[in-house]
């Protein structure tokens, strides 16, 4: 392991070229570079403009419904007989997930740039729905790229997008999932440079996206910090969030990076890391370059990207945001994983004990918490990001729960 000088803060990245250590960057075709640089300009200007933030604040409060509650999950806490468990209730946001936090920010930037048309990629469909929603609100044209596989798995979200006025492109190239949807969205963007803004849904892609999306999601952690002081008068001991691209996780984690708080990211182990049928880029991948950034990727010996697997369409991506790769290598965050079956058990448990039907994505976080919570002392506080609600997953989950005798 290399020794690095420990900086005063872990929160100041990326550098001006978008690097978090060796990760991040701008690995895109020259045809895309001017677009990416334009977005960076617009973001840099907006970031330091109080008018921009007060406008966003208005929509956070009156449209998204922020702040989202920090909820003490008393029945799960009683059930596990260990640490106290809190949920940050981002599933209560308008559209049912954390994705809208980012979308509202980017949609405002798109309008500042004079763009009238929006494109987006989506996996589980949550980002697509959030984008379609913002576009309806702001009267922007919306086109969403979604892998053909996901179009089938997440039909309710496809219908929502259509209802909201978006055009959904079913992407059949490659493995027909999220990574291919992103390829296709990037291809499309090149040809529509003048009019279209690309709203990327996670903390990945070329600079400035990983930073911009993170900054829009940080509201999750900022609120949590304040709410936790109100509820318990101190910082939490442990933060846990699921990770696909990693936007909900970085949103919760980032405001706590410099604090004495344990931070755990949970990747999707699919059928198990040893089966290769998983989506755990950090646990089972290695550094590479895809979709505009250097980060940990699932790939074969030749550097060909391999297909990810997870029961959760939102985690089914062979990469991860570059800042997570950096935080992984620095050791600041511990990255673990949970399998499809573990997530399904947690899905059922949370529904029954808390009356909250979680999305499959945060079910992975809860599944990992199940492993550790009982052995922790009663005054230990865990905060989990409940980043989405599970209605969208019922079709996939119900038959599996019946098979597993959990329903």
């Amino acid at each position: 392991m290399s020794t690095t000088n420990s900086p005063n803060t872990l929160r100041e990245g990326p550098d001006e070229n978008g690097h978090f250590g060796i990760f991040g960057g701008r690995y895109v075709a020259e045809t895309l570079m001017p677009l990416v640089l334009d977005v960076e300009d617009a973001w840099t200007t907006a970031k330091s403009d109080p008018v921009f933030w007060s406008e966003l604040e208005y929509y956070r409060k009156h449209y998204i419904g922020r702040p989202s509650p920090l909820y003490f999950a008393s029945r799960l806490t009683d059930h596990f007989q260990g640490a106290k468990l809190y949920f940050k209730r981002d599933e209560l946001n308008h559209t049912g997930a954390h994705k809208i936090n980012n979308v509202m920010g980017q949609a405002l930037i798109a309008q500042r740039m004079g763009k009238t048309k929006i494109i987006a990629e989506t996996g589980a469909g949550q980002h697509g729905v959030a984008t379609a929603t913002a576009c309806a609100l702001f009267n922007l044209e919306c086109e969403v790229f979604m892998g053909a596989e996901d179009v089938i798995r997440q039909k309710p979200n496809v219908d929502r997008m259509r209802l909201l006025g978006a055009k959904v492109h079913s992407v059949t190239s490659g493995s027909a999932t999220l990574k291919d949807a992103m390829n296709e969205a990037l291809r499309y963007w090149v040809s529509k440079a003048d009019t279209h803004f690309y709203i990327i849904g996670t903390v990945a892609g070329p600079h400035p996206y990983p930073q911009m999306v993170r900054d829009f999601q940080c509201i999750i952690g900022e609120e949590t910090k304040e709410q936790m002081f109100e509820a318990e008068g101190k910082l939490p001991d442990t933060l846990v969030a699921c990770i696909g691209g990693g936007s909900n996780a970085i949103g919760l984690f980032h405001p706590f990076l410099d604090d004495d708080v344990e931070i755990i990211g949970v990747e999707a182990a699919g059928l198990g890391i040893s089966t290769k049928q998983h989506a755990a880029s950090l646990t089972g991948g290695r550094p590479g370059v895809l979709h505009g950034n250097r980060t940990y990727l699932l790939q074969n010996n030749d550097g060909q990207i391999t297909e990810a697997h997870s029961i959760s369409a939102g985690l089914d991506y062979p990469g991860i945001g570059p800042e997570h790769s950096w935080l992984f290598e620095t050791g600041r965050i511990e990255y673990v994983s949970a399998t499809d079956n573990e997530a399904l058990e947690a899905f059922a448990l949370c529904s029954k004990l808390e009356g909250i039907i979680p999305a499959l994505e945060p079910s992975h976080a809860l599944a990992y918490i199940k492993n550790i919570i009982s052995s922790l002392p009663k005054d230990h506080i865990i905060v989990m990001n409940m980043c989405g609600r599970g209605d969208k997953d019922l079709e996939a989950v119900i038959p599996r729960l019946e098979e597993m005798d959990l329903l």
Partner: protein, 232 residues
């Protein structure tokens, strides 16, 4: 350190100038549809009229390519195509052809995996005359462009209709070999090019940059898996 010395691209351009004609560059994806057929096609390209060959290194996620080249890339991978095998193809091609310039075109991740230094050594050894790496803009020159320069191996830059006066100097700064003018805003094979637009763009480039003396433009090809390039 064994550096690149052959200068086949330069010689080609000098000849084309002397002969007062444009050149024909042909793209094929290495190992498409399999090694045997692909190698056979590659070897016959010069006698069929190719002045230069662009050999595509197959990649699972060719972000800047249209459906035709995506499909070619996937066929190649399915048949066992890899970066190692692409380099072997070049070596085999060079056994009988020491004149036709051959540039490798593709995406960075397989090279990054292979190891940049290792790749440059093997590519020069095999007889490669230049690199076109789609997802390495000037902002990432330290990855491969500067190491390639150290080995004297041309690193070919792409410019696009969106590359304005402000952007061009950045692009041309570390450029070598030739300038690759992407004549459409979009992915390969999706639109027909307007020859007049390209001609104007090249004229404009030539006015400002003495360095620029060729343009390679993309067009659809009825055969499906090839891309036609023209030098002005």
């Amino acid at each position: 350190m064994k550096t690149y010395k052959e200068d086949r691209l330069k010689l080609l351009f000098e000849n084309l100038k002397k002969e007062k004609r444009g050149g024909l560059g042909i793209f094929i994806a290495a190992s498409d549809p399999n090694l045997e057929i692909s190698l056979e096609i590659l070897k016959r390209l010069p006698q069929a009229g190719a002045d230069m060959i662009e050999l595509g290194m197959p990649f699972s996620d060719p972000m800047a390519d249209g459906p035709t080249i995506q499909a070619a890339s996937l066929r190649a991978l399915k048949s066992g195509g890899s970066l190692k095998r692409t380099l072997e193809m070049v070596k085999s091609f060079r056994e009988r052809d020491s004149k036709t310039p051959l540039v490798l075109m593709g995406y960075y991740n397989p090279i990054y995996n292979f190891g940049v230094e290792n790749f440059l050594i093997k590519a020069i050894e095999a007889g490669v005359d230049g690199l076109i790496i789609v997802d390495l803009p000037p902002e990432e020159d330290e990855e491969l462009c500067l190491p390639a320069q150290k080995y004297n191996l041309p690193f070919i830059r792409l410019t696009a209709p969106t590359s304005d006066g402000e952007r061009l100097p950045t692009i041309l700064n570390n450029a070598s070999g030739f300038i690759y003018y992407v004549s459409i805003m979009g992915i390969t094979g999706t639109q027909s090019i307007a020859a007049q637009n390209v001609q104007n763009a090249v004229k404009e480039l030539k006015k400002t940059y003495r360095f620029t003396d060729s343009s390679w433009i993309w067009d659809k090809d009825k055969a499906g898996c090839r891309r036609r390039n023209i030098i002005f």
